[in-house]
Amino acid sequence: MSHDMSDGDGWIYSEQVREHFFSPKNVLFDESNYRADGIGSVGSPECGDMMLVWIKVDEAGERIKECKWRTFGCASAIAAASMMSVMATENGGMTLEQAQRLKPEQIVERLGGLPDRKFHCSVLGHKALREAVLDYLRGKENGK
């Protein structure tokens, strides 16, 4: 699957990546007062890529109501986190099952493509969301 990686002025990334990098959606600037239902953490500073995701789940415990994040990483990683958070919460929000099944390729597709070597950044987004959902489900099991 090949994409035209550059936008109008020949920027290295697509228009969507550019948009999500310069105007990222759903960033959690201050988590001190945020009561998340589930938190996922993936990557590490040593890797040069790290993502934290906080989710809120609806009353029925079925859909993702809110999805916030912070990312240490390149433009692809930031854009992937932002796009992932939009996909998780649009149209009434993903079900927990949909969120767990969200594939990196879907994030890349919505971003209009990423250079091959940046694919792992979208994997980060998919994993962090899944971790957050699993964290929520573990919490429910333990009667949180």
Binding site: V27, P45, G48, C74, A77
Partner: protein, 391 residues
């Protein structure tokens, strides 16, 4: 953001062409199209211009003019030096000494030699990015045929003790080893006299000194054996075949002359600007570490790590402000590895990902520095705002 004005501070990657150089190149491009190997007037004219440029460059480094071999740039000169000298000296030995922080042009040529049966010792550096003369001495053997140490590093600007290393080699068991230096980054700021430095071979690149891209040279001391890596018509005494590009060669020589004229002023001017940039950054942003030492360092080079701010994201943010820099982060490289130079000086890996290099130049002024600082503060705030790692 400024309307379309660019602040280019990535001069270590390459430089814009100086107007004076352009002025010299254009007429040659138009008028002197002859093949210097031809016997007619067009050929003889071409030959004359090459010889004149060759003599000018030789003069500036105090070498003989036939010790200059023109190439397509620094990378080719490095490949020629490493592959050509090693292969020609194989009967005397097959051990080579170099450093871990050399440019990929040297390191990859060395890797190639390893597959040809040569043994390479890669000497480490300290946290300032300097090789120790003692370490080089310990690495030398009777079968060492070549030593290659760069005069100035492109990423952190560290300046190696070339003259001292030369003395050490000459007094060692490897006293006949050829000593080569990649001086591409050093040319703007260091006097390069081949006898003072005590070198047998040196790489120079036009693209780093406000000359045209696509041309450079290898200085090779008379008597040093070398094999070509490009074959054909036998130009450059059979060492580098190919129809010569008069305009580029003349441009290269002109760029070298200008560097020589402005060197002592530029050294001081850029050191002041670089130090001002650093002090402003340190005052206005926390979590800053400098990569490499400040004493034996190129005057125009500043390489820092900014905690929590990944290099590629910062580079793109600054680019949006009209500022061009480079980074040693893994995400910015094609092989997804962080800078080998930063790792060699023991920069913690998470800080290697947060590195940014400013290489100031001939066209950088104080207003540019102020604009860079202002943009950097904003960019860092924005990226730290959404980063996992706070300062």
């Amino acid at each position: 953001m400024q309307d379309n004005k660019r602040v280019y501070v990535d001069n270590a990657a390459t430089t814009p062409i100086d107007e004076r150089v352009l002025g010299v190149i254009l007429p040659h491009l138009i008028n002197d199209y002859g093949n210097a190997s031809s016997l007619h007037k067009e050929g003889r004219d071409a030959r004359r211009f090459i010889d004149k440029s060759r003599a000018e460059i030789a003069d500036l480094i105090e070498s003989k003019k036939d010790e200059i071999i023109f190439t397509s740039g620094g990378t080719e000169a490095d490949s020629l030096a490493i592959l050509g000298i090693a292969r020609a000296s194989k009967s005397n030995g097959s051990h080579i000494v170099t450093s871990v922080i050399e440019h990929k042009a040297i390191l990859d040529a060395c890797k190639r030699l390893e597959s040809e049966g040569f043994e390479i010792t890669y000497v480490g550096v300290d946290s300032d990015g300097l090789v120790s003369v003692d370490d080089i001495e310990s690495a030398l053997r009777e079968d060492t045929i070549l030593v290659s140490i760069m005069a100035a590093n492109n990423e952190i600007g560290s300046l190696q003790p070339i003259a001292k290393i030369s003395k050490a080699i000459k007094q060692s068991v490897a006293k006949n080893a050829v000593f080569h230096t990649d001086a591409c980054q050093a040319t703007n700021y260091l006097e390069l006299n081949v006898d003072d430095l005590g070198i047998d071979a040196m790489t120079l690149s036009s693209s780093k000194i406000y000359g045209p891209k696509g041309v450079g040279c290898l200085y090779l001391r008379d008597g040093v054996k070398i094999q070509p890596i490009v074959f054909g018509g036998g130009q450059e005494k059979g060492i580098r075949s190919g129809t010569e590009n008069i305009a580029l060669i003349v441009g290269f020589a002109e760029a070298m002359k200008i560097v020589n004229e402005v060197r002592s002023i530029e050294k001081d001017r850029l050191k002041d600007l670089r130090n001002y940039l650093l002090s402003e950054i340190e005052q206005k942003i926390d979590g800053i570490t400098v990569n490499g030492g400040m004493i034996d360092r190129l005057p125009n080079n500043l390489n820092i790590s900014i905690k929590g701010v990944e290099g590629e994201s910062l580079l793109l943010m600054l680019d949006q402000f009209g500022i061009a820099v480079s980074t040693g982060s893994a995400c910015s490289s094609s092989d997804l590895n962080p800078s080998h130079v930063l790792l060699a000086i023991n920069t913690p890996i998470e800080l290697a990902h947060c590195s940014v290099r400013f290489s100031l130049g001939r066209f950088t002024n104080r207003d540019d520095i102020d604009y860079i600082v202002k943009s950097l503060v904003e960019s860092v705030e924005k990226i730290r705002g959404l980063s996992v790692i706070k300062s």
